[in-house]
Subunit: 299 residues, 2 copies
Amino acid sequence: PCVRVVTASNALAATSQVRGVHTSKDNEQLEGKVHDVSVQHFRRSNNPHPLFSKVDDHGNPVWVNPVDNKVWSEEEVKDVKVTHIDPKDRHDRVAYYLIRMIRRGFDIFSGYAFGPINEHKFLRRVIFLETVAGIPGMVAGSLRHLKSLRLMKRDHGWIHTLLEEAENERMHLLTFMQLREPGLLFRGMVLAAQGVFWNLYFLGYLASPRTCHRFVGYLEEEAVKTYTDAIKALDDGLMPTWTNKPAPDIAKTYWGLADDALMRDVLLAVRADEANHRDVNHTLSTLKTTDVNPYVSGK
Amino acid sequence: PCVRVVTASNALAATSQVRGVHTSKDNEQLEGKVHDVSVQHFRRSNNPHPLFSKVDDHGNPVWVNPVDNKVWSEEEVKDVKVTHIDPKDRHDRVAYYLIRMIRRGFDIFSGYAFGPINEHKFLRRVIFLETVAGIPGMVAGSLRHLKSLRLMKRDHGWIHTLLEEAENERMHLLTFMQLREPGLLFRGMVLAAQGVFWNLYFLGYLASPRTCHRFVGYLEEEAVKTYTDAIKALDDGLMPTWTNKPAPDIAKTYWGLADDALMRDVLLAVRADEANHRDVNHTLSTLKTTDVNPYVSGK
Ligand SMILES: [Fe+2]
Ligand SMILES: [Fe+2]
Ligand SMILES: [Fe+2]
Ligand SMILES: [Fe+2]
């Protein structure tokens, strides 16, 4: 994808020649006069621009995501288990059977339930699901942000964890998008799915945050299963073109993978993220919304 | 405000005794059996829990915001100028005259336009405005996040800067909330303002992101003026109770202020943030939405 690269310098150069920018010398207002814009006028972070602080072997700028994410150790990614929490009350059961229904319907509708897994089927599935998976964290994070604003109360650390989850899922999507360019029909379904799911989850979260967190907990239980199945299929030779396929650069940068990392390493890292979201959301669903979030990652 | 402090350990202890949590030993599904939950099951960041990694002089846990924010140098905060960018086209004029109208109406409605400034009037104004100021960044950030998901395309670094702005404004609010407990009428107006502004800005951003960024640019020009006026009033002795008032702890932690920092230092830091938002939004309004965000702060 061609990006009109506006390097920080020419963005500022462009704006600093903008006519009509005034800097009042001693803080009163100078209307209508044109002044040279002192560079100070445009505040820039004093860190070197990260987008261009890292370049790949071909000299192209590498995108370094400023949002912290967990870089998993080898031991942690291998240690991920498929787990399940039994539904205990009405909220849990609503969440659990909704997910069972959605999973069953989606497996049939997407053809995933029929015939063996392969790279094409798997990519189609995870790209679609990752466009949806990025929604709950953003909805919950922004709703809690708005609530904190309108009640003028503290949030106790939830917003950041939820927005991090949303960004994490978006990076999953962008990673798999390096491997496949979806067609128009697929894109149409992604649009429809977002329109439906965003609104439903938004209303759901207003009504019952805990049911929603349990819903995401069960959603991620399924995701961990799907990625575990994919890793097994890869090992069993059912996805031959991925056996020695190098990990996309975006994945190496994001998860701090080794230069010679392969697709298997990417699947392990994504699975570890999903297990993390699973555990976080299952725990958040057991807390009162005014409790302190035990998962706040430190600086 | 009393917070039911669920320390990380007892949140996990509570959940680890939760019946019905299964960890499948070798990854197949064990339905219905109760297992001891291995601690590994709940992923926690390996950093010490920040909420409790810092304690104040009385031993109380100190909230350390995991979202990066700019810690301004003394020179930077003093260097902030009141600036203004002349509207150049239809988009700019819509944004500019909307802000002029809103400012004028609000000054009259809030009584700010009548009589000298004082601590009470100023606090009432900024608390109200900061509940609104935290909205644009979150709306724009979440809409660009959703767009990146549904188009399966990269965002070029805008989301993070916008969400950082929203969090920054929320921290302004929480800082001033240490100094005043608003009444019911005031709270009602805050609720109404969020309901109206959130929906209008949401639709506005869908329609014309650049007009919205210009709108926020002009909104922040006004904020820089208001904080500059307040600092001047403080120096002129019009806010006597703040002359030697220590900065709230939340402000010292957030902006890395000195232990003996005063309210004046808080006003300087907040003003520097607002000038930053002003410059960022004015610049973003000149860029195409597919341009790379020149303000991405590095790790
Ligand atoms: Fe994911
Ligand atoms: Fe997920
Ligand atoms: Fe603010
Ligand atoms: Fe602001």
